[in-house]
Every structure is written in structure tokens, then in C-alpha cells.
């Protein structure tokens, strides 16, 4: 096991931030800690790194109890949301820092830093200072710096949070590829469910300081443990007292077993997919929406003011609204 977190409790003053949190991270995996802000995910990551001390509980990294070890002795690589670049050092010196601390021979340092800068596509920038780099380049430098010391685990705290949407998307895909090359046990924190689903092979959903669910991206998306996880992982709508994904709704023009009548309010065309916004005529007058293809809209001739009959598709996973 790469990381074993057992029974962690942590409070800041009177506010509990982590409550009896236990997480297993398989070695070589890429795990996302996903949750709303204030859910405790960054604190958990910092506890693993030794940047915060837990009130109770243990952290075991690669079979060694690290709970009482200082950050400098844990051999973890940590990447911060705001890069934490050493701004008085060149890119080369930033990446070389951990190796210089370990008093590696100069030749080895030069070779290793060269390899890492190539890996993160910064080899032409080795003489620059962080202030002369873009946000995405700084974060790649921070990643190379963390990888330089060959850490047991790599921890990334909202690594792409400070970058604009386009760069964020590029770096996500790039992180996934990098992990496939380097295979270091990696945990990253994000509040973006799309990012977690796209990049991670395991997702740990944390909210209110507790682990809500752990599983592969499609497990947590398709079989959410509770309505909270279901809502957090993707869009939901409510039909007949059930939470359903809007793409798991069947529409027909005539009543069928189990359907609920509804009046269409709006038909929003978003390219290939179409959003049908409607009001349920089951006595509740609830608003609901369905995500369908253009083909369905045309074959059923769906228009505002028309009536449709809706039900969750038989294969759909739905949860009772609590």
C-alpha cells in the first residue's frame, strides 16, 4: 500500500476539519481527493505531507509510520496551488534544490535536472527566473522540483487551481500522461469533479471532514453512495421523488407504465445535446430537466408548451431524495 491513513482527527481551534478519516492509496495509483471547499481535502493532504499535525490517527507511507516525522524526513513531493517557486533561484536551481540538499555530486545533479526539465518541457528555460515564466510553466517547474528527489509519494494541492481554463485542461491531460510514465504514487486535491474523473483512477469524496465514498471514477459517478455524492459528481434532476442523471431520462409522447406527465418550458439547444426544461404535472409542479439528443427532439417534435411523459430509464441508477 502506498499510503495508509487511519482514523485521522484534526481541528483548527474549536472547528473540526477532519473526522475519523481513513483512506488507502494503492502504490502507483493516481488518486483524487474531491470535495467542496472547506471539506477538509487540503488539510488531509497536508497531514500526509507532515505540514499539519493530526490530533489523533496515523499516517503510514510505504509501510513506515510517518505520523511523527517532520516533512523533511517523509520523502514526499509536494506541489502547491500557487507554485511556491523559489523566486530568487533560476529554474535549474529550483529543480536542483532537493538534490543539492542531499549533497549529490554536481554531475549527477546536472544530468538529473536536465532529464526532469525535458520531462516537463522546460529545458530551454533553465536559466530563467520564476517571474519570467507563465503560471503553467511555473507549475511544471514545481512538479519537476518535487519529482527530483524521487519521492515515495507525490502530493498536489489544487495544482491547476490558479491557472486559466485552457491551460488547466492541457496540464490535466499532461499530468495523466506523466503519471503513466513515472508511476509514482500520486494524490491530488481538486474541487472540480470533471478534473477528478478525467485524471484520477481512484476518487475519494470528502465533505464536512468525512470520507463520503471511495471508488473508481465510474463507480462514484454511476453508483453514488448518497444524494450528496450524486449531486457533487454530476448534474442531477428530480423525478417522482427520485434523483436521476438528466441523461438517464426517457421521454415519450404517450403515457407509459411508470411515467409522469410534464409540460415543456424551454428547449435549449447546446450543439449536439439539447436540454429540455419542464414542469412535472404530478400535482407537485416540480421543475425538472432532461438531457437528450437532437434526434429525439426532432422525432418527438418537442416544443415549449407541449406535454411529454417522462420516467427514469430502466438501467439508470437513481436515489431516493432524502
Amino acid at each position: 500500500m502506498g499510503i495508509e491513513v487511519r482514523g485521522i482527527n484534526k481541528s483548527f481551534g474549536a472547528t473540526p476539519v477532519l473526522r475519523d478519516v481513513s483512506v488507502d492509496v494503492a502504490s502507483g495509483s493516481l488518486t483524487a481527493l474531491l470535495g467542496p471547499s472547506g471539506g477538509g481535502k487540503s488539510t488531509l493532504l497536508r497531514v500526509i505531507a507532515g505540514l499539519e499535525q493530526p490530533d489523533t490517527g496515523t499516517v503510514v507511507i510505504s509501510g513506515t509510520d510517518a505520523t511523527r516525522l517532520s516533512p523533511q524526513r517523509r520523502n514526499v513531493g509536494f506541489v502547491f496551488q500557487h507554485y511556491a517557486a523559489f523566486k530568487h533561484m533560476t529554474v535549474f536551481d529550483n529543480v536542483a534544490f532537493g538534490l543539492q540538499i542531499r549533497k549529490r555530486p554536481k554531475d549527477e545533479i546536472r544530468r538529473r535536472v536536465g532529464e526532469l526539465l525535458e520531462l516537463v518541457h522546460l529545458d530551454q528555460f533553465h536559466k530563467r527566473y520564476p517571474a519570467q515564466l507563465s503560471g503553467g510553466q511555473r507549475q511544471r517547474m514545481a512538479l519537476a522540483r518535487a519529482l527530483a528527489v524521487e519521492p515515495e509519494v507525490l502530493l498536489l494541492d489544487e495544482p491547476f487551481g490558479a491557472l486559466d481554463a485552457q491551460v488547466r485542461k492541457e496540464l490535466r491531460a499532461w499530468l495523466r500522461r506523466l503519471h503513466d510514465e513515472v508511476h509514482v504514487t500520486t494524490v491530488f486535491v481538486t474541487h472540480d469533479q470533471e478534473e477528478a474523473i478525467e485524471v484520477a483512477d481512484t476518487i475519494v469524496v470528502l465533505a464536512g471532514g468525512e470520507v463520503k465514498q471511495t471508488g473508481s471514477p465510474h463507480e462514484v459517478y454511476d453508483n453514488p453512495a448518497d444524494p450528496f455524492v450524486m449531486r457533487f459528481l454530476g448534474p442531477v434532476t428530480e423525478i417522482d421523488g427520485q434523483l436521476v442523471r438528466p441523461h438517464d431520462i426517457e421521454l415519450s409522447t404517450t403515457p407509459e407504465p411508470g411515467t409522469t406527465p410534464a409540460v415543456i418550458d424551454r428547449v435549449v439547444r447546446l450543439g449536439f445535446e439539447v436540454r429540455i426544461e419542464m414542469r412535472l404535472r404530478d400535482g407537485s409542479d416540480h421543475e425538472a430537466w432532461a438531457q437528450v439528443t437532437r434526434g429525439i427532439v426532432e422525432s418527438l417534435q418537442l416544443e415549449p408548451g407541449g406535454t411529454v411523459h417522462v420516467r427514469p430509464s430502466p438501467a439508470a441508477r437513481s436515489l431516493a431524495v432524502t
Partner: protein
């Protein structure tokens, strides 16, 4: 501005693209002019007058005025003491700034505002206080009156705020994540300080030290009482200059003043060079 000047230009003479010239805004010109005239009146002309006065009777006369035994001794004392004071400030000012930013203790706000006291207090009052504390009737039993140690204490008192107040804001702004990143890369606390914190503070430390030094070489009020102004022993340059004026030796006074001026300017230029060097590195 450049844009508007090209558009009027092309309106008059359509055809070849005219070179875009950066024309100064009238407001900028006015501001620059005012600043220059003010600086000239307040700083440059008086300084030039001092230099002119001291060298007006030839370099030989200037040199003789500077190297009279009491002038030379006062310059040596002033510059030597100022170097010591600047170095003590460098260390202690940084330590105080560190404590004020990084530590929590009761009364911190009071201590923080006390730092500015030497700025706010008339220096002659400071001199009086020091004489009462460390004079011949010292309630502490420490008599520094008429000693070089007394001069040092007075200079330390008036220059205390410089390093503290230059280092403090930099330390406040310093990214704590950098320190944590260094620690997680395996750096021990002392290494983090030496390799991460210190290089980022150094420009502020140097500039505070230089300011303390230049202030120290010009100090008069705080030293005049406690030093006793003994020539060859405790008389600092500023007091020596005052004495020359009283003895109607305006040229001698101007000559010593010029030396102080040159030393101060040299330090400020060196400081500027260091800061440019620091800025280049981002």
C-alpha cells in the same frame, strides 16, 4: 499619447507611415519640471554651495581643512562608529523584524509602535533621555557620559527603525509556501533560513543598513549631550562642523561636510546598484 500624435499626423499628411514618437504629456512635463526645481532648491543647490565653499580655495586648502587633527579624528570616529552601528542594526533590526512578524506575544502591538519612537522623538530629547539614563547620575549604574560607548548607544538609538522597517514588510509578504516546499524537499530549518528566507530578505536588509549608516554619519542632536564633545575622543563630525562654524571657520566646516556628503552619496549609489542587481533577478 503616442496613438493620438500619429492620428493627427496622418490627418495632415496621408501617405507613408510616420514614425511613432512618444511625445511627453504636458502634465508629465509640468510634474517633472516642478520636481526638478524643487529638488534643485532644496537639495542640489545647497549641496553644491557646500562643495563650492569647501573647494573654492583650491584642493590643497580643502585637504588641509579635512586633515586638521581634530577634523580628521572626528571623521574617523563618525565613520567608524557608523559602520559598527550599521552592522549592529543589520543583525538586531532583522531579529526584531522577525520577532514582530513571526512570533506572537502579548504587547506586540505596543512594541511595534515603539520602534518608530526614535523617528518621532526630537533627537536632542533622545540625547537628554540617554544622558539621564547613562550619564554620571545613571540610575542603572552605567556611566557612558563622555565615552565613545555613549556615542555608539546614541547612534544605535536613533537608527534603530531603519532595518526593522525595511525588513518587516518584506518578511510579511514572504510566501510561506516556499519555506514549506523547501522543508518537504528535505531542507532542515536552518537550511530553509539560509537558502530561502535570507536571500529574499537581503535586499531589504542591505538597504535598511545603508539608510541607518547615512543617518548615523550625520547625527548631531542625540550625541551632542552624552558625548561631551571631547576632541580626539568623542567629538563626532556633525558636532565638529558646528564648532568650526562657531569659530568662524566656514571653509573648514564645509570641507568636513563635503566628506560626509561624498561618503553618503557613495553608499547610496552602491545601494542603488545592489537593488538593480536584485531586481534583475526578479
Amino acid at each position: 499619447m503616442a496613438l493620438s500624435s500619429t492620428s493627427t499626423g496622418s490627418g495632415l499628411a496621408p501617405g507613408p507611415v510616420r514614425a511613432v514618437r512618444r511625445r511627453k504629456n504636458p502634465g508629465t512635463m509640468l510634474g517633472l519640471g516642478t520636481a526638478l526645481i524643487y529638488l534643485s532648491l532644496i537639495v542640489l543647490i545647497p549641496l553644491a554651495a557646500v562643495v563650492w565653499k569647501s573647494t573654492g580655495q583650491g584642493p590643497g586648502f580643502f585637504w588641509k581643512a579635512v586633515t586638521t587633527p581634530d577634523a580628521w579624528a572626528s571623521l574617523q570616529l563618525t565613520i567608524g562608529a557608523s559602520v559598527v552601528v550599521a552592522l549592529v542594526n543589520l543583525v538586531m533590526g532583522t531579529v526584531i523584524a522577525w520577532v514582530l512578524v513571526r512570533d506572537r506575544f502579548p504587547g506586540k502591538a505596543v512594541v511595534d509602535s515603539l520602534i518608530d519612537l526614535p523617528f518621532a522623538l526630537p533627537t536632542i530629547v533622545a540625547g537628554l533621555v540617554l544622558l539621564a539614563l547613562y550619564g554620571s547620575d545613571s540610575p542603572l549604574g552605567v556611566n557612558l557620559a563622555y565615552t565613545r560607548a555613549g556615542v555608539l548607544v546614541a547612534l544605535l538609538f536613533v537608527t534603530l527603525p531603519f532595518v526593522v522597517r525595511t525588513v518587516q514588510p518584506v518578511l510579511l509578504e514572504l510566501d510561506r509556501d516556499m519555506e514549506q516546499a523547501a522543508a518537504s524537499l528535505g531542507a532542515a530549518p536552518w537550511t530553509v533560513f539560509r537558502r530561502i528566507i535570507l536571500p529574499n530578505l537581503l535586499p531589504a536588509m542591505v538597504s535598511g543598513t545603508a539608510l541607518a549608516f547615512t543617518r548615523s554619519i550625520a547625527e548631531f542632536g542625540s550625541t551632542v549631550l552624552i558625548s561631551g564633545n571631547l576632541p580626539f575622543k568623542t567629538q563626532v563630525a556633525a558636532v565638529q562642523i558646528f564648532g568650526q562654524i562657531e569659530n568662524d571657520n566656514a571653509v573648514g566646516a564645509a570641507a568636513v561636510s563635503t566628506v560626509l556628503l561624498v561618503v553618503a552619496l557613495a553608499v547610496l549609489f552602491a545601494l542603488d546598484l545592489i537593488q538593480r542587481w536584485g531586481a534583475r533577478r526578479g
